[in-house]
């Protein structure tokens, strides 16, 4: 999996049944997360290419998939992937546009390694 972070691009091996966030942590990369059950969207990423299995997520919508968002805390790779980290605010705007529920107090910028907006 290729992961785009602010100022760097890293390649991480992710097992077929491994959550992407766990694989990133194993590789020493700190990414935003909170509920870690596929609900709060803090861990949201943009899927630039490839496909993610979100069946372990508590709240994930088909509209999210169509718009190219993934919740990596509970997402497993189903193909080679290229992701862009730190998409929580984009995903919130997407959920709002589709009248889908989303927490409002999440900010990816609080997490080390991601820039303040």
């Amino acid at each position: 999996m290729v992961l785009e972070l602010p100022g760097q691009i890293v390649t991480i091996a992710v097992g077929e049944h491994e959550f992407i966030l766990a694989a990133a942590r194993r590789a020493g990369i700190t990414l935003p997360s909170l509920c870690e059950q596929g609900w709060c969207t803090t861990c949201a990423v943009k899927v630039l290419s490839g496909s993610v299995d979100q069946s372990a997520s508590v709240r994930y919508y088909e509209e999210d998939r169509r718009a190219g968002f993934a919740l990596i805390c509970t997402g497993c790779p189903r193909s080679d992937l290229r992701l862009r980290a730190g998409a929580v605010e984009e995903m919130r705007a997407h959920r709002d546009a589709h009248h889908l529920p989303v927490p409002r107090g999440t900010r990816a910028s609080r997490i080390k390694g991601l820039p303040e907006k």
């Binding site: 909170l34 059950q37 596929g38 709060c40 927490p103």
Partner: protein, 224 residues
Amino acid sequence: MSTVPKPHAVGKIKAGDVTQRVGVEAMEARGVNVGELVEKLIDAAGAEFTTYYYYTILRMYLAGHEDYKEICEDARLEDRAHFELITPRIYELGGTLPYDIRSFADRAGCPDAYLPGSQNGRRPMSNPFDLVTNVTAAQVLEVLLEAERCAIRTWSEICDLTVAKDPRTYDLAARILNEEIEHEAWFIELLSKERDGVSRPSGHFRRGTPGEGPYSKNAGFYNP
């Protein structure tokens, strides 16, 4: 008589102005994004409130484990106390709870703590006697444990946002965090023994009274 105004009367907020709050200004001067904090507090309050609801259901499915039921009840009541504790602070900062409870539940910062076997709440109910069967204590304890872990991350983040800048919110969040950490220890202890047969003591004994809230209720803010 001197015409020089008293120092405390010449702040940014004019005397008698009720549209602004010095309590907020002081936080912003120290670097707190109050709007962002209020959003976070509402999400957190929503999670405590929904957890209280779902724990009510989960507790019912611990038949034969009366000790687990009591401990689940302590966590349930204390989570309600957390909602009660933090809600006045939202208003104090100029915010409000959502006017529609559905909006409130939808924006909760932690997942709904669904009963195992309820298909994440989507299980069709043809009548009110349509109970889920064969739910194990270990399954329930696992849901309880993960709910507490989300709460710990939430209140830790609120502590991070407010430490040394907003002592009032920090104090409330730290009280809640103390209890959430205890809840996690309880459910680790119970799940480890129930599911794996392994002792991992929490280090605690039972609360003196159900939902005692030793941190969240020990010095009432407005928490009846």
